[in-house]
Symmetry: D2
Subunit: 258 residues, 4 copies
């Protein structure tokens, strides 16, 4: 049973190397998460437990793959930014996408009980992934701005929508009320009708989650007497901050460094 | 905070549609499973619990994605064969690879305790994936034959290797003993030195796992009195059979049907 | 002035290998040929001189690249079919497309005076090209049938259109007359109004040009006394025949042979 | 003879769009030009007539395609640089490569007699082409520096090689003499043995040809009395200049402008 006569099939594996010298973004999205979140009784419009779980998975992905500079997440999606000059897995698209998705999914299932202790996992959470290349720093910043603007727009809409629905409107009525309205209208609606000051909502909901590596003291081992031995390490850390304006990038020059 | 000025970044998502009219194979491989299996004390050369877990994950993937015709697994890898004319996710490579890998991984973690109840999961299992297209039925059969021949060759080698190591040789000595030897030598070595008749080893180890859809009576609901209501359904079923010879394909004409 | 510090730029050349085991079709199309044919006073609806020039170019391309099995041309386009298992230039798409287009273009310019001796070439003829893969023999036949059906439909339309225009109608009126009409109507129009029996028009116009390699006696050199030395050679030969029906393929089994 | 049942074959044409926002370089290379130049008796190591012909073809390509910012040529190759944000033919690789190659080839044949009036064209000149993307301005400059450094290195070697061969050495002996030698040695060899001061050789040979668009007065029509009407136009112009150092780029800021 020699395998040599079959080995020609390996030649059918075509190369999918991503263009060198570009920022690589791997974005993953939950598949069928509307249904998934209903099935598990996620709070609307945002379930902090589920968001914290997403954030923790993203941190674990960054622990696993040191070439990820930055991650940004909202709702059931997360984007991971690989260093412009990374040679991780030879920049092969399928390798990068599948491993990051696999790592994220494994952590999502494994860490679910810690975040939703009273809710048994009743279906397989699944994420699709894709790889996109961005040639310029400005393209990368615009990509992240696009996602964060999207977070804001979705969150404002969803906050209104669920306030209306919880107050007794049907989903169709809520949709009608909001159709074509501007941000100012929505803020006023929230405030006047429901006493919600949008500006005071949690930053995690309004801004999404930004994961960068921050210096922190970490216990690396214990001495014989049990005293912890601490070392400074670079640790993936979640922040809920604006990444559209320059301040963030000026304060984190290492992110775009060559 | 309009997102419109950033939306141009969507154009950077390039098309990765796989050629129509070809068989699509999605193969996933465990990442760093040598270390992962040591960490969890997998039996050598084969751990039936781990293989059964892999097989169950493959069945769940097939339950989730009806366009998968067939799956074949060995060790820490699994190949999924999509129908030649599938239009699943528009045949986009990244979508197909990531979703199948994600579904597999989620089940691997979720079903781990059922298969290895005494072994807590201490690391994230991760799988990479890739998509390969095969134009002809004969190419697809050769691909699967390549994997099954590989299973046989690896299993025979590993059975010898671990028998030698368990008998007191160092890994290096075991490697030396086996270097360049033929199948006949290995079979004789197993029999003479260790009383192992290779032909009698479990088919799962020698042939790998073949998952096809088989008709079976399935409980779809229960009557009020608790009696199960059974219906015939097509159910992903694991077999340990030869898929190199014609018999398998003649007996399962639906697999290659248009 | 060492070049070594710049050589990294070579890594940006990504692989564009076409899937092995598929038929490769390279189709080229004239760019801006409506204008080009006006500029050179091509006869309407078909200029036999220009079609013969296209055919001769196709033959020269086939002389140059022995892995081309078959070519099919109509109007200002030509399709070249490469053997399923060709390894010509490692199946790299850009190489195949550019060389075939380049060879065709070079011959178009060089052989123009022989076909249109009274018409100086006043602009650069240009062809774009693309590569398409077809997994099955039936796909390839359907591709060629698609092109030949297209030839027929276009030719019938154009024959009517130009008969109407030559008889004094404006292009807009001619278009209106033909809009939404069937083949039968067009045939009758040609016969009744213009005395043209469509069936009697040249096969080259109705069927397009099919180039295959045919055995023929070819002068390979001359003896000292000037007598030609003939040898049987496989020579690209143009036919105006139906390639949709089975007869052509049954009569030319070498075309689809492995 | 409806074509609709065959039209599905169009779906097999896969997308080959190049990444937006990158510089696109289309490089074409003569196929088999060693043989081609022998057949036509090109002077060694450089034939000015053949280089001028290449340069004129490049200018014509730039006349045809306004999105080409810059071209650089040496020997039988030419690189064309498309603007970073070009949307020419939707950035489809095969379109861009084939049209530029086709335009170049058509001009090569058509303009041959003007440049080599005493040498009939005896074979089809052919060029292959490829497309490469460069994300950063610095990558593009490094690409061009790579080609110009290559020109210099090749020209210095070839000048020595042909001087040795013309002086009576065999090609093998000439190769041996030059093997592993440095620039200084070659310059000295040329000077001492053949009285050639390398620095005084034509810039076209040493630097290759740089084509940019320069403002020039162009005759756009004639008045009734025959006086030419001149207008300022941007005209592709060949220069033999250093494009490695900053001066060139500082003097031509429009080349890298957004």
């Amino acid at each position: 049973m020699a395998s040599s006569k079959y080995e020609y099939v390996k030649q059918y594996e075509l190369d999918d190397t991503l263009l060198p010298g570009c920022w690589i973004v791997i974005r993953l999205d939950g598949r069928g998460f509307t249904k998934f979140s209903d099935l598990h009784g996620f709070e609307k419009p945002n379930d902090k437990r589920a968001l914290d779980l997403m954030d923790e998975c993203a941190r674990e992905v960054m622990n696993e793959f040191p070439d990820i500079r930055l991650a940004y997440g909202e709702s059931d999606e997360y984007s991971f930014v690989l260093a412009r000059n990374t040679d991780m897995y030879g920049r092969r698209a399928a390798k990068l996408v599948s491993l990051i998705v696999s790592c994220f999914t494994a952590n999502y299932v494994a860490r679910w009980p810690a975040h939703l202790p009273d809710t048994p996992l009743r279906a397989s959470p699944m994420f699709d992934g894709r790889a996109v290349c961005y040639p310029l720093d400005s393209n990368l910043r615009d990509y992240l701005a696009w996602r964060q603007a999207d977070t804001h727009i979705n969150n404002q809409y969803n906050t209104c929508f669920w306030a209306l629905v919880k107050s007794g409107k049907t989903p169709a009525e809520a949709q009608d009320t909001l159709k074509g309205t501007q941000a100012a209208f929505k803020n006023e609606l929230l405030f006047r009708e429901f006493g919600i000051n949008y500006a005071h909502l949690p930053e995690q909901f309004k801004k999404g989650s930004v994961v960068t590596r921050q210096k922190a003291l970490v216990e690396v081992k214990q001495k014989e007497d049990g005293t912890p031995v601490l070392r400074e390490r670079s640790v993936p850390t979640v922040l809920y901050v604006d990444i559209i304006r320059d301040e963030f990038w000026e304060g984190n020059p290492q992110l775009l460094a060559p």
